[in-house]
């Protein structure tokens, strides 16, 4: 078995915030002891509601947000510190795509020069080759050659996101972190971009971390999925298994809350209450105030993420490991 491309162990990220100027700062544990691995060419989906820490985790994996505790190893070596020359060099091998392409693109540059910028920054292509490279990248993401000189505002939302993805791919990265890349797009365009990402992955073997709140999209694109709740990974499994038979009560509610066209409101697990404020986290299991199965132990102890079946783990006191005979 090959080594993981990126490996994170016990990552912790705490934001300090204060309500008033002189009041005591409160700590928000945005990411609280997260460990994960991504193999070369694999797609890991990270799902969770707003405030679950999924975007912070994505940024930490790229070293943009430094970890207060824990470690990220990229290709076996520890992540260099933010801003150092080593880190900059490494950024060519790992790229990030955000939700809002209009904010990620420079309004005053035609998209072709923006797509070519990483080549210049990382000195990957001379000015002569750059043009061919950009043309190839644009073709790979489905942009027409005549759109090269267009400005971002002249493109549609889907085309802008394609331009952002082309730019991210320019340095031929091994890892692409996509943070809600299709959330702002219409369904028909969303399907175009998701298919394109799948094709790119098949062709180039790039590893992807796909962060999204949309379970249907994640299921379609990811090989493995981690579910986050209040800074913790509460369940992790291959995407087919996770969505077919979720084990953690939060994942169950999440899967059941996905509206399926042509199905009426019935037999759904509707969670009571709202996700707690990350700055004021409940004791024990973070999910216990909303959990239908909560017992005394859930209020007292935080359940660790443990193995509950072949290739799957969950962090819940109430989920017992599957008997091995079922593992077929």
């Amino acid at each position: 078995m090959s080594a993981p491309l990126i490996e994170a162990s016990d990552l912790v990220r705490i934001y300090h915030s204060r309500k008033r100027l002189f009041s005591k700062a409160t700590d928000t544990r945005a990411v609280d002891g997260v460990s994960l691995k991504v193999m070369p060419g694999e797609t890991l989906g990270i799902v969770g509601e707003s405030g679950s820490g999924k975007s912070t985790l994505g940024r930490m994996l790229l070293g943009i947000d430094p970890a207060q505790a824990g470690e990220v190893r990229f290709d076996g070596k520890p992540m260099p510190r933010l801003g150092t020359a080593e880190w900059r060099a490494l950024r060519a091998r790992m790229q990030l795509v955000y939700q809002d392409p209009l904010a990620a693109l420079d309004k005053r540059l035609p998209i072709a020069s923006q797509i070519g910028e990483p080549l210049e920054i990382h000195k990957l292509a001379g000015s002569a080759e750059r043009e061919t490279c950009v043309a190839e990248l644009m073709a790979a993401v489905g942009l027409r050659p005549d759109q090269a000189e267009r400005f971002p505002h002249e493109l549609s939302g889907g085309q802008r996101q394609r331009a952002v993805i082309a730019r991210a791919l320019a340095s031929r990265p091994q890892l692409l972190v996509c943070d809600e890349p299709v959330a702002a797009l219409d369904v028909s365009i969303q399907a175009q971009v998701v298919n394109m990402l799948r094709d790119l992955q098949e062709e180039s073997g790039i590893a992807m971390i796909f962060i999204s709140h949309d379970l249907k999209v994640v299921r379609n694109i990811a090989d493995r999925v981690a579910v986050m709740y209040l800074g913790h990974i509460v369940e992790e499994a291959t995407s087919n298994v996770l969505f077919r038979a979720p084990r953690h009560p939060y994942t169950k509610a999440l899967v059941s809350s996905v509206p399926v066209s042509g199905q009426r409101l019935k037999d759904r697990t509707i969670l009571q209450g709202e996700p707690p404020n990350p700055a004021d986290r409940p004791s024990g299991c973070p999910f216990h105030p909303r959990c239908p199965l909560a017992a005394a132990v859930c209020r007292a102890e935080t359940p660790p993420l443990r193995w509950v079946g072949p290739n799957r783990s969950a962090a819940c006191h109430m989920v017992s490991p599957e008997p091995t005979s079922v593992a077929a």
């Binding site: 707003s50 219409d186 042509g262 969670l271």
Partner: protein
């Protein structure tokens, strides 16, 4: 049969001379739950903003909007305000920008009660608390005097619904009410809207791009594309057998939560620019079933034998009897 609550007839809207809504005919019966679906820019929100006279001055609105038989278009502001909030209430996608950030939420609801129902003092407070309880705000009494920023997004949407219910409207227009919310909260709000409708018998128009959400709360659905209704019908038939290629395409583009992880089927191309509409059917450049005839003249919205409205010259054929509906979740879980 009772007469319709709202009748839109040939409603057209143009911004600076560019027509964005090309004649909408739509009726809402009392107590009905109608869904309006389509992608961004198809005119689903503009239809209702125009009907309620909420569009900015540069918009030209023509046609007819009748509420209980009375014409609304061109009425003076005073007449419209009796209808808005009283007969027809509207809630929007982003609840926190619809609430006044510097007023306490209790006062905002009391304000709506005094405008629409003339309640004041203790009576208004009691009624406001009842509404807050009804929409599921926990500890309504204790949180009556908080500001909107002290509530979460889901609770702000509940506050908006409470405020919309203050005028005891006959019709609630919910414009993407769950789009900005998390999945588990979205399920709660959809549930709440369905409960309130069952309790009050109020009609609901549910505007959304999410076919899944629409199918959970609506009886009838209209699919819009580029400022026109392209298909309309009862929710079960329409979802089982979409006939317009655009509706079919929308369904195919949604990734599935179960079954094989197959490749998605996108609709090629993008929504046309209203300033440069294709001749003929607006969907024809993206349509896989387009014929030569589709390039000339807009197809009319006509009813078939089952009462389904369809504007297409070459619709998806109705499948043979006895076949299973295309997308029913099997009870495999």
């Amino acid at each position: 049969m009772r007469s319709n609550l709202v009748e839109l007839c040939d409603l057209k809207v143009a911004f600076d001379g560019t027509t964005v809504l090309h004649g909408i005919d739509l009726d809402v019966a009392p107590g009905e739950a109608l869904g309006l679906v389509g992608e961004s820019g198809c005119g689903k929100s503009v239809t209702w903003l125009a009907a309620l006279g909420l569009l900015p001055g540069k918009a030209t609105v023509t046609g007819s909007v009748k509420v209980e038989g009375r014409e609304m278009l061109g009425q003076p502001r005073a007449a419209l305000e009796g209808i808005r909030g009283g007969k027809i209430a509207m809630i929007f996608q982003d609840p926190s920008s619809s609430l006044n950030p510097v007023l306490r939420v209790g006062r905002q609801i009391v304000e709506a009660l005094s405008i629409h129902r003339g309640l004041g003092g203790a009576a208004a407070r009691t009624e406001a608390l009842r509404l807050l309880d009804m929409v599921g705000i926990p500890d309504a009494r204790g949180r009556f005097d908080l500001f909107p920023h002290e509530f979460s997004g889901g609770q702000c949407q509940r506050l908006m619904i409470a405020m919309a219910l203050a005028g005891q409207p006959d019709l609630l227009i919910a414009d993407e009410p769950t789009t900005a919310l998390d999945a588990t909260i979205q399920a709660q709000i959809l549930d709440l809207l369905a409960d309130i409708r069952a309790e009050t018998g109020m009609a609901t128009v549910f505007i959304s791009h999410d076919l899944g959400a629409v199918s959970q709360v609506c009886d009838r659905v209209c699919v819009m594309y580029s400022g026109r209704i392209v298909e309309a019908g009862g929710i079960d038939e329409l979802f089982a057998h979409p006939r317009h290629p655009y509706t079919r395409g929308l369904f195919d583009a949604i990734p599935q939560i179960d079954g094989p992880r197959s490749r998605l089927i996108p609709i090629p191309g993008t929504v046309p620019n209203p300033k440069a509409m294709p001749t003929g059917c607006a969907f024809s450049p993206r349509c896989s079933r387009a014929m030569d005839a589709c390039g000339s003249g807009v197809p009319e919205l006509t009813a078939d034998t089952n009462g389904r409205l369809l504007a297409c010259r070459n619709p998806v054929p109705v499948p043979q009897q006895g076949r299973k509906p295309a997308r029913v979740l099997e009870a495999a879980l």
